[in-house]
């Protein structure tokens, strides 16, 4: 039961993350079209939606750390390790090729040999960076795993906090006073490894009602501060500047950890009673999260072309906030449907 509850809460959390991700990408399309120099209510609402959704990628990293780290056998480089790395590396290469082909062919251009080699070396469609980052983390996971197994939760928590604070400080210095710290001092491990380790350290953290209130308040405060900072950064910009939403911004780090802790009690809730409908739905989304992640940008781009450029659905008359929510729902539904279908086909199982 315990293992089952753990799996369900992690799947549900992944499902929520991928839904937030789709919402964030949809929101960005509309936010980028608005002039930030003269913000109205709509701009502020979109800004809040964007900031609230920024926790999605850190959540993915933390959930991956919670699953991958802490198992003694995973300290070794064996067949299981190769399989684990392959589980992200193969979809990364496949989807990069797919995006390259689709986007080049729709623009009536043939992909060149340079484009294809570029995929092997990491020059890919913008949203696929996450898969290469995750692969990098999985490559070094035996090393992190040996360390967290040797030091336990406390050692992992210290390491995770240390990694996040070093990267966060470097980010603040670089973006506030343009002072760059030598990379050998700050980026000794992949930049997102702090999230990965902290996910493991907090995976069994007991969240009581009081703690829940504290982390909820932390998340909300982080959200408001981020939105205000985003406004100040954008006050003189001609186009939306997403700097404050960067996953290495310490405020986003705090918000993401708070969100992770807010989702933690799901496990005990599932243990005590059967998972509710909402949890089951998000767990279902979570199972298909890789496919949704890979597909949603393609669907989003094509759907928006269909709906807006040709104005087929009469969307232009609706307020932007409503469109963001509707498009998010439609894109999530279509990509999750396609992902579930692909998972039933043996050849495509590993790609979605």
């Amino acid at each position: 039961m315990n293992e089952r509850a753990k799996l369900i809460w992690i799947d549900a959390a992944k499902g929520l993350s991928v839904a937030l991700l789709v919402c964030m990408h949809t929101n960005a399309i509309f936010q980028n079209r608005m002039s930030p120099s003269n913000p109205g209510v709509t701009w502020w609402i979109l800004c809040f939606i964007n900031t609230a959704c920024r926790v999605c990628i850190p959540l993915f990293f933390m959930l991956s750390g919670a699953v991958v780290l802490g198992v003694p056998e995973k300290s070794l480089i064996d067949r299981e390790y190769v399989r684990r790395v392959g589980r992200t590396l193969i979809p990364f290469v496949f989807w990069s090729l797919a995006y390259l082909l689709v986007y080049r062919l729709t623009a009536n251009r043939m992909p060149t040999l340079n484009d294809v080699v570029g995929i092997v070396t990491g020059k890919v469609h913008y949203h696929l960076w996450f898969l290469s980052s995750l692969t990098g983390l999985l490559i070094i996971s035996p090393m992190l795993n040996s360390y967290v197994c040797a030091t336990g939760n406390k050692g992992a928590l210290i390491l995770g906090c240390l990694l996040l604070s070093v990267v966060g400080t470097a980010w603040v210095l670089e973006n506030s006073i343009k002072f760059q710290i030598e990379p050998n001092l700050t980026r000794v491990l992949p930049v997102y490894s702090g999230y990965f380790v902290i996910g493991y350290a907090l995976r069994d953290f007991p969240v009581t009602k009081t703690k829940k209130l504290i982390v909820a308040a932390t998340y909300l405060v982080g959200l408001v501060v981020c939105a205000i900072l985003a406004r100040s950064v954008n006050s003189r910009a001609s186009q939306f500047d997403g700097l404050i939403g960067d996953y290495l911004n310490p405020l986003v780090m705090i918000m993401s950890i708070a969100m992770f802790l807010l989702l933690r009690p799901l496990e005990s809730a599932i243990e005590v009673q059967h998972s509710g409908r909402v949890t089951t739905f998000f767990a279902w989304l979570g199972v298909a999260s890789l496919g949704i992640y890979a597909l949603h940008v393609m669907i989003l781009d094509n759907f928006l072309q269909f709906a807006f450029i040709y104005n087929r659905l009469g969307f232009r008359r609706l307020p932007s906030v409503a469109i963001v929510l509707i498009v998010t729902l439609i894109v999530t539904a279509v990509s999750s449907g396609l992902s579930i279908l692909a998972r039933r086909v043996p050849v495509l199982q590993r790609l979605a």
Partner: protein
């Protein structure tokens, strides 16, 4: 005691490595002259010296791995971890400030606080890149250590070789074909981590006379290839192209590993066999290697500024092919003397 006896050869190897580093810096002083003013014979002489000395820095990295990795107590971030870091950070900060104060034209001037912060952002002096790299490796030593203990020496050898191969591949396609490479996939660990882990993996290697013969042959063959590449790259260029001798060039990697095997004692540690005066001299150099590394460039630049570049008579009367070996010996002796003198003063002992 057992440990110090076991690693006695490490000191003499460090001595060889530091002599190599001084040799590179002296030779490059002439090779990097623009426009090139060296005769073909002198160019070849200096190139051969640089080529065989290029194993210096990789040797340092491998020897650090040999000594630092494998002890269970080093698997955690505790007081001793910070003490170990301190042992590098204090001398480094001191010497970095000295280099910042010292100007390339041979004079000295006081620096502002912002200039002093250059120590953190890596803009100090060209040769200090190595110290940043070694600090980066020291920072992740607890993780790497826990990992190598879990997998053992033979698997560490494979991991080190894999990391070197990955870095070598990335370096080659970036420098030969000018392809962009995703850092997440190709550099999940600091670029020199391969040498560091390999040093640990190789420490239990039983060096037989046959293995040593093979290492001599490999070293010689790689040196020839590396020289050939360097000659090809420098045929018609104005400023020296060092790609043929780069530490991440796969040929230099193979050469460095061969040098490591060549320097490892065949049977028992050299001290038990009654070390020769050459071994004792190199051991002496090796024990002060960090201080020599930090100080030798300052001595080299100051002495060359006053005795060579500003003195046309010396420039015309002493051939470079004679001056270079003399300068290597003198600068090494001088910087060893400075290091030893500083280490004898109680307050300054920690600065070298």
């Amino acid at each position: 005691m057992v440990r110090s006896e076991r690693f006695e050869w490490v000191d003499s190897s460090r001595g060889v490595a530091i002599l190599g580093v001084v040799c590179i810096h002296v030779c490059c002083t002439f090779l990097y002259q623009t426009p090139p003013r060296l005769s073909p014979e002198t160019w070849w002489f200096l190139s051969i010296l640089t080529c065989v000395s290029k194993v210096g820095v990789p040797l340092f990295l491998m020897l650090s791995g040999t000594v630092n990795l494998g002890a269970p107590s080093k698997s955690v971030i505790d007081r001793s971890y910070f003490r170990r870091l301190q042992r590098i950070l204090i001398p480094f900060t001191f010497w970095a400030l000295v280099y910042l104060i010292f100007k390339a034209n041979g004079g000295f001037r006081w620096i502002s606080l912002m200039e002093a912060l250059g120590v953190i952002n890596g803009q100090v002096h060209y040769h200090l890149w190595f110290v940043y790299s070694i600090i980066g490796l020291y920072l992740i030593t607890p993780m790497v250590n826990a990992f190598v203990i879990a997998i053992g020496e033979s698997q560490s050898l494979l991991v080190g070789a894999f990391l070197l191969a990955l870095t070598g591949f990335e370096w080659s396609i970036q420098n030969v074909f000018q392809f962009y490479c995703d850092a997440n996939l190709f550099k999940p660990l600091p670029v020199y981590a391969g040498y560091y882990i390999l040093g640990y993996g190789l420490r239990s290697l039983k060096v037989t006379p046959t293995i040593r013969d093979y290492s001599y042959v490999t070293f010689g063959a790689c040196a020839v290839v590396s020289l050939g590449i360097s000659y090809y790259l420098n045929r018609n260029v104005e400023s020296f192209d060092n790609r043929g001798f780069h530490n991440l060039n796969p040929v230099v990697m193979a050469m460095s590993i061969s040098a490591f095997v060549m320097l490892k004692p065949i049977d028992k540690p050299a001290v038990n066999q009654g070390a020769s005066w050459i071994t004792r001299t190199f051991s002496l150099l090796g024990r002060g290697s960090f201080g020599i590394y930090l100080s030798h460039v300052l001595l080299l630049e100051v002495s060359f500024q006053y005795l060579y570049w500003n003195n046309r008579k010396v420039q015309t009367s002493i051939p470079v092919a004679l001056l270079a070996p003399v300068a290597i010996v003198l600068i090494t002796c001088l910087s060893w003397s400075v290091t030893t003198a500083i280490s004898k003063v109680p307050i300054m002992r920690r600065l070298v």
